[in-house]
Amino acid sequence: MANNILVFIEQRDGKIKKASFEAAKAASDFAAKLGGEIKAVVIGGEVENVAQLGGYGAANVVHIKNSELTKYSSSAYAELLTKEMSDGGFDILFISNTAMGRDLAPRVAVQNNAAAIIDCTAFDYQDGTIVATRPVYAGKALVDVKATTEKKVFTLRPNVFSAGSPSDASATVEVKEVSDVNLKSRVVEEKLSSGKLDVAEADIIVSGGRGMKDAESFKLVEELAGLLGAAVGASRAVVDAGWRPHSEQVGQTGKTVSPSLYVALGISGAIQHLAGMRSSKFIVAVNKDKDAPIFQVADYGIVGDVFDVVPAMIEELKK
């Protein structure tokens, strides 16, 4: 029992988030190593395609349902998840490290007297102990951490654990209708920029730095991002200058990202920026200065003016 893993599945607008499929698959793979089983918990109102979690290794799913739970409520979600953990005798909880996950995990941890280990990028099992690896100093270093408590809550960095291709397996879904949920803190409205990809979730990011010269020139960054199906990112200098919103900032006081491809345009590569993107699988840099630090982490570099190179990239991709 002690090695069974409960995994929290995040839904927004009735749709399961990609990061939760990754968490389910990671939980299922790791439980196999521990000799345990997994169970997935979805909290919400109507949620689409819950049974497809079976394809990611979660054969058993409980859907805790109430129309008041359609939008996130930290107080209600924490209580319900805690109850699920204690009723099921779970010692381990996996949650993806999204805005919701990081908000929720520590509360569930306190309610279960559990350690919370945040933003994990790897798990190992040594002599009966789970050792998690997580970045610190925005990725300038990594620590190996273990919990000294019986119960443990781990959050998993999105885009690090692969969800793989799902099998056709369908999960057994138990729907638990609940009433009188605790809505002391609740989301009343979501304001989403329609169709805009977020750097924290995107598989490809095209980022611009001071070398883009002004806010207007970010049209080039946006056009390239559009062609690649990428999110637009920005360096701190650009955000501080007010050219781009803070939600796009990559680096130590912005977001730490790990996409498959990171394209840095006119970014010199300050240490706090490199910390936030160096774990990207492939990095492309375009910069006029051949000595710019960004080239030390780039897999592919072009030394040149962004206003010459980026339009050529757009042309080439349109072919």
Binding site: R102, V110, P135, K140, V143, H246, L261, G301
Partner: protein
């Protein structure tokens, strides 16, 4: 109303990280420490709230060694009324920090508490939530907008691809994200006044760590990449490499 702000003392973001001789922590040699950047937004929001309410007091709390007084002093210079240093020379994890902060917030009788959304050292981003839960307070994290109307709190928090509006009420913990406000600079008058303000020092309440760091390491070095070429002429080869070698587009 009493408003508390919890602040931490962290290595500047321009710091190059070297691992200390214990193999578990940062080597502090040559490292410049500063007020955690996100805490500046927390202090500013507390001061703005005080100005709005009148009749209130802002107390700044920090846990750590003696040197944390520099950071408390900075908050006092910005306009906070008083400071408390919870002394502890030893490493504490988020849980043990939150325990001591919760005890002090209770002692202070603060009903509204601001934190930065995370410290830029351990990057956990959970001390605010842990403290709130230990106190039985409501909590809203990663705030980019904060409104207080009587006991009612409305916060806009940053989420993937946008924001969400959270409604809750006092007593509450709010964690601040960049963009919440424009932190004020300490004026010369403020800096002078801060020298006369007292920082109360007491031992941090004992608490056990729930986690143990086994080791710290540098991330794997990236192998030196290649310069594909210069100027626009290198673009076709770059796109070919991305498609055929990296297979990422």
């Amino acid at each position: 109303m009493k408003i508390a702000v919890c602040v931490s003392h962290v290595p500047d973001t321009a710091t190059k990280v070297n691992i200390g001789p214990d193999g578990k922590t940062l080597d502090p040699n040559g490292v410049a420490f500063v007020l955690n950047p996100y805490d500046e937004y927390a202090i500013e929001e507390a001061l703005k709230t005080k100005e709005l309410l009148g009749e209130s007091e802002v107390v700044v709390i920090s846990l750590g060694p003696d040197v944390n007084k520099e950071t408390i002093r900075k908050a006092l210079a910005m306009g906070a009324d008083g400071g408390v240093l919870l002394k502890d020379e030893n490493y504490r994890d988020s849980y043990a920090v939150a325990k001591a902060l919760a005890a002090e917030i209770e002692t202070q009788g603060a009903q509204l508490v601001f934190f930065g959304k995370q410290s830029v050292d351990y990057d956990n981003g959970i001390v605010g939530q842990l403290t709130a839960e230990m106190l039985g307070f409501n909590c809203a994290t990663v705030a980019v907008d904060f409104k207080l109307d009587g006991d009612k709190i409305t916060v806009e928090r940053e989420i993937e691809g946008g924001k969400e509006v959270v409604e809750t009420s006092i007593p509450a913990v709010i964690t601040a994200q960049k963009g919440l406000n424009e932190p004020r600079y300490a004026s010369l008058k403020g800096i002078m006044a801060a020298k006369r303000k007292t920082i109360e020092e007491k031992e941090a309440a004992a608490a056990e760590n729930y986690t143990e760091v086994l080791g710290m390491k540098k991330p794997p070095e990236k192998a030196a990449g290649k310069i594909v070429g210069e100027d626009a002429s290198a673009v076709p080869e770059l796109i070919r490499l991305l498609k055929e070698e990296a297979k990422v587009i």
